[in-house]
Each structure stands twice: as structure tokens, then as C-alpha cells.
Symmetry: none
Subunit: 401 residues, 2 copies
């Protein structure tokens, strides 16, 4: 029996409430060998107090040594094996700009490129045209009309955009049209499986009309399409856990990921304080609350050790307000580590705390990577965290008699 | 997605270098309850220094409680699930004597036995004839000729030998001919699947000619064949990890195992110092170096606790020379435990250290079974070690966006 089937079998309704705070990229590294990580440097009295009443551990997002992107990182925390459930590149890009994919959609990532007079690619990124220029070009592409299909073209950044085809019988199994080289023409969209034949035809027609529309553009007179993908089929929080789930996030990517598992997006908060205002406001309407805090990741990506420390302390100061709502289970974790030292996501385990009246004391005093190694949750795959959340919320029946 | 596919997708080329020192049978047990293991008794200042800069853990070769042979033990360390990738007995025996199996080979283990005048087995081990006698008998068997097939017969030890059939269309699915009893005749080689029909016929012909050749032998006038197996199909280090891998081992078994995953055998070292000479010599030609140290296992097998301690100290003294080459990732582990107390391989987790600039400090001070329990790698399946090696060598891309 896989985890999803097990969860479906055991999940029960209850009045308990679970809050999962995801501090993106929470885990870190010391700048000097043997030194302290960002979390170990931060002054976190409220998180430490939760640790003393809770149980801690180290979460492995995918597998030891594997560095996840935001998609697999969050799928794991939401209880979906990130090696089993995958979000195609096009679908993730659409999700990342807040485009809500429907069940009949196929999304692809687009790159504008420059074609020479013979139709061959002379610049694979159209001179990296600035976003404003690119957005104007994207606007022109709204003129594409394809019979029986709705077409959405949305800007991303610089030469990048997303195209979404919506209509019955579409399928993501279409090959990239990017030849990954200059001096050659973009490839024609080709179906990889028979089921995608119609999608390939639609994409071909899109490219044909787009070429006509773009032919007078100085730089962005061509395009390549990559990562065709439909909306991933993920069972929802309601189906799996029987939880009414709310997502309180600032950035489109995380809102999108939450939507993919059936969470409801709540509010339009721009700051952590506003996020907690929203949490309080919708407290009675949901059972599960995903609260996403971005800045532990972005400061890590910037290599800004001290700023990441400050962001962790900002999160710590918000904890009492969350606690005042008296959640039955309060989890603080991350979707992966983003050590300032590496200026990127990393594979290192993520310090994780779970606080609930049913926690068995593990003797820890402080929320830190080092302490979490000795915690009661041990080293565990991220996909197991929701099982623990459900258990401590007393929302699981017994398995077997 | 399985581990192999994941690795193939994420592996990137890099200039970084990984050294994996396998101290065979490294893990141990105290002689007296509550006492110290061999590793805990040894004076290991250099390993301890690596521990302080690195991250440690306990490697589980197959599953908790499962004692591996050398084959599964090493496959795990090399990143192949030993329950999924299996090396047939015949193939392992051939590998162990340094016979390099080709893709069209089928190998079997042979035992000489004594047959009575009625052709029934009177001694299943031919009186355990000494190796020298046995080798002479093996020599006579070189006279066997079978149309369309090359036949290799190689001595192993005492009554044991290996036979390898080489030719197109051979298959390992042939049943053992050992009736596991005296007073009965050896079985005729029989195909277990239709694909092995020709192999069974070849084996029957081999047995027929061998009986004729051996009929005047006083003891070894018969034989049984067991463990028919082809070369296991293992993706190579180059295919999987994009690593140019070198193996520096003294004993044929470990050379053979390394060859099976596509490592290049380097040098003809007979001592640890010579092995490190070879390591230094080929440093620029490879990315990954498997260095096998046998004597922590053989002393354990002998029940020689003090000797095992001394061998661990010998390994410790070699560490600075390895470090002077400045590997990006230096791993010290074992393929299994061999406690002197048990005089055999065991199932106990194997103390493992990984040292790299990207290690998160775990606060350990000494390389020992007890300390490793509290290490940052936790308790992990051996097959995940290569994932960590690749990650710390910065040779993996990100999984998902």
C-alpha cells in the first residue's frame, strides 16, 4: 500500500488545527568550518521555547544528496513523494507566474530568439531583451487564434514567456522545439506519443501565426518552446487528508504549488505580519494552514548570511502571534536548505520542529541544525511530515485491528 | 523514478575529485559487554581530525539485520541497491579470482567430488584435496573442447574451481547439478527457462568430457556445478555518474567488483603505502578513486581483535598522505562490519565519515561506532552514500525547478 492509499484509509475528520510554517531554504551552513549556521547564529527565543515543548528532526527533501527545486521541495512537505509526483517544466513555469492551470491545459515555456534572414537562430535569447520590451511582444501574441483551443500567452521575465493551450484532447507529450544551438532553425513541434498529435498540430499553428506576427521585430522575431506539460494529477488535501487547507503565501510560485494540491489561497498579504492577520481571520474556516515565508531562501541565495539571520529572527518574533491562535499542531520547517555559503539551494537536511501536546520530549533546548540531529523525529523523508502532522492532530485512525 | 534514473538525470561533469576508502569489515563489537569496539580502541588522530571537519553517520549495507557478502556490500557503497542488482554466484566466484567476465559468458562454481563405481557420490568434496592436487586436475580439464563455445576452467581453492562458457546465445538459467547428498549421482545440467537450453547442452557436454578425463583420478573423479550466472548488467560509473573511476585494490575479488561497475584497475600495489603511491600517480587521470583496504576484515574474520585495532591504526597513519592530494570529498567507510567477537561478517551498521568543505558540522570529535550514531548523516542505506559523495563534489544539478 502506498502512502496516499494509507492516508486515504486512515484520515478522519476532527476539529483540530494544523499550522505548517515553511521558512523557504531554512537550513544553512557555517561560513567557516566548525562555525555556526544562520539558524544557530540567530536569536530565536520563541522557536526555542517551541522546541522544548515539541519534537524535532532533520527532514530530507528528496533523498540524501539531492537538491530540490521549489516544486519537489514543497510536494515532499505536502506528503507527495517528489520522485513519484512530478510537475512538468511548463506547468511549473505557469504555476510560478500565478497562472491557474485547468485539467485540459497544456503549458510550455517559451523563449524569444532572433532569427536571421534564412530563418536560422542567431541569438537563442533574443539579446536578452528587457522585460518591458518582451512584455510588449507578448501582448502582440494575444492575436493568435486557433480553432477549438483557447490560447494564453503570459510574460515571465526578459526573453521568457509561458504559453498555455486550453481545450479538450490536449496532451503534454510534445518535444521541445529548441535545437539548443545557433545557426539552425527552431524545430517543429512534434508529438512524442500518438495522444499528443493534436497538441503538436496546435503548437505548430501557434508557431506559424507567431512567426507572422513577429516578423518585423528587431530581436524577438522567433521563438522556441520547451517543457510541454499538462497540469499534474495530484490528489487534493481534501481527498487525501480530509483537511480544508488554506495557503497564505506572498509569491505566485508557492500559491501555485498550494493550488495544485487543492489548497485555497487566502488573502493578499505582502508581509509576514499581514500573513498572520490573514491566518487569524480565516482561522475558523480551515483545518490546515500553509504559511510560506520566502526571505530565508532569498537571503541565502544572495549569500547574505547576516540578512538570513535577521529574517530567521523576524520569523521567530511572529511565532507568539501564531501560538496565540492555539493550533493543535504547529510545524516549522523548510522545503530545502539554502546556505548563504553556497548561494543556492542545497541537499542538506532541513531542521524541523513539530509542537503538539502529544509530543514525546526529546530533551532539545534550541532550534538548530545541530540540535535537530538529536531530535525525536530523527532523520526523516519530508514526505513523512504530513503523516506526523495528522497523527499529532489526532486525525488518523488505527491501521489494522 | 529510481535512484539510477535520478543520478543519470542530475550528474554533471566537474573537475572535483572524490576518494572513497573502503576499510573492509570496518565496524566491530566490544569483546566484553559495554566495552570498546576495535575502532573505539584504536588511536586514530587523523581520522578523528577528519571527523571534526566532516559529517559522520552509520551505513546500513542492505537492510537492518542483513549481513552482506562482499558483492552486495560493495554494490551498496557504489550506489546500486543490493536487493535489486544481484551478482550470481558463478559470476561472483569468477570475479573473485580475477576472471573478467564478458557479456557472452556464463560462469558456474565447480566442486570436485568422489564417485563410486556405480557413479554415485561418495564424498561431496573429493576428500578436500589440497589446492596443488586440485590445480593439476583443473589443468587436465583444459582439454575439453566444445563446438562454438570457448571453455575456461580456473582453480579456486582445494576442491573448488570455476568454469566459464563463452559464446553467443548462452544464458545463466541452468539448475545446479549438486544433489546435496551422497549415495546419489550428480544431476544432469537442466535448463530452467527455454533461453538456457543451449547452455544446458553445453554444460552436459562439458560434464561428459570431464568424466572421461577424470575417470582415473583417485579422489576427484567427478564434479558438481552450481550457481550458473552471466555477467550482471550494471550501468557503469561513467554512464551513471559521469565519473572516470579508478580502483586501487590488492585482492582479485575487489578488483573484479570494481570492474563490474566500469572502474579502471590501477597499478599492482601490494601494500597500503603502494596503493597511495598509485593514487598519487593517477590523480590527474580520474575523478573517483576506490581504495580498498582488506585487513580490517581479515583480522576480524580471524577473531584477532588487537590485530584489527593495529590495522585500523595503519589506515589512520595513511590518511595524511591521501589528504595531501586535496580531494574535494574524502570518504572512509566499510562494506560491512566484521566484529572480531563474531569472527565473521555481520549486519551491524558501518561507521562512515565524509569530509568536504560543504559539510555541516555535527559536533563529533572521534571516529567510532558510538559517535557516528550522533552524526549528521544519521543512519542511512549504503546505496545513498554515492548520492552524498556526488552532492558534496558539487556534481549534481538541481532536481526539478
Amino acid at each position: 500500500m502506498n502512502q496516499q492509499d494509507l492516508v486515504r484509509e486512515l484520515a478522519e475528520k476532527s476539529a483540530t488545527k494544523i499550522v505548517m510554517v515553511v521558512a523557504d531554504g531554512l537550513g544553512g551552513l557555517p561560513l567557516d568550518p566548525g562555525g555556526r549556521t544562520e539558524l544557530e547564529t540567530a536569536n530565536t527565543p520563541h522557536l526555542d521555547s517551541l522546541v522544548r515543548r515539541g519534537t524535532c528532526g532533520s527532514s530530507i527533501p528528496v533523498l540524501p544528496g539531492i537538491t530540490p527545486g521549489s516544486g519537489p521541495g514543497h510536494l515532499g512537505l505536502f506528503g507527495y513523494d517528489p520522485l513519484e509526483f512530478k510537475i512538468g517544466r511548463g506547468a511549473l513555469e505557469a504555476t510560478g507566474i500565478g497562472f491557474e492551470l485547468g485539467p485540459h491545459d497544456v503549458a510550455a515555456r517559451g523563449n524569444f530568439c532572433t532569427l536571421d534572414s534564412a530563418g536560422l537562430i542567431s541569438d537563442r535569447r533574443a539579446g536578452r531583451i528587457p522585460s518591458e520590451e518582451s512584455f510588449a511582444v507578448v501582448e502582440k501574441l494575444q492575436g493568435v487564434r486557433i480553432e477549438g483551443v483557447e490560447v494564453f500567452v503570459k510574460p515571465v521575465k526578459e526573453h521568457r514567456f509561458v504559453v498555455v493551450f486550453r481545450g479538450p484532447g490536449l496532451d503534454g507529450a510534445v518535444a521541445d522545439t529548441d535545437p539548443q544551438a545557433t545557426g539552425v532553425a527552431p524545430l517543429d513541434p512534434q508529438a512524442v506519443t500518438p495522444a499528443a498529435a493534436r497538441t503538436a498540430t496546435v503548437a505548430q499553428e501557434f508557431v506559424r501565426q507567431a512567426r507572422e506576427i513577429l516578423k518585423t521585430e528587431p530581436k524577438a522575431n522567433g521563438m522556441v518552446l520547451r517543457g510541454f506539460a499538462g497540469k499534474p494529477r495530484l490528489p487534493t488535501y481534501e481527498e487525501l487528508y480530509r483537511l480544508r487547507a488554506a495557503a497564505i503565501a506572498v509569491y505566485p510560485m508557492y500559491k501555485g504549488l498550494a493550488r495544485l494540491v487543492g489548497m485555497t489561497l487566502v488573502g493578499h498579504a505582502q508581509t509576514l505580519d499581514q500573513q498572520i492577520d490573514e491566518l487569524a481571520k480565516c482561522w475558523n474556516d480551515y483545518d490546515f494552514f500553509f504559511l510560506h515565508f520566502k526571505y530565508t531562501d532569498s537571503t541565502g541565495e544572495d549569500g547574505a548570511f547576516e540578512q538570513k539571520v535577521k529574517r530567521i529572527e523576524e520569523l521567530d518574533r511572529a511565532i507568539p502571534r501564531i501560538e496565540s491562535l492555539q493550533p493543535d499542531v504547529l510545524i516549522v520547517t523548510g522545503d530545502h536548505s539554502t546556505p548563504s555559503l553556497l548561494k543556492s539551494h542545497s541537499w542538506h537536511p532541513v531542521p524541523t520542529l513539530l509542537s503538539a501536546p502529544t509530543c514525546r520530549p526529546d530533551g532539545l533546548e534550541k532550534f538548530s541544525e545541530r540540535e535537530c540531529l538529536r531530535g525525536g523525529l530523527g532523520m526523516f523523508p519530508a514526505k513523512h511530515l504530513m503523516l506526523l502532522a495528522m497523527a499529532h492532530a489526532l486525525r488518523f485512525g488505527k491501521y489494522g485491528a
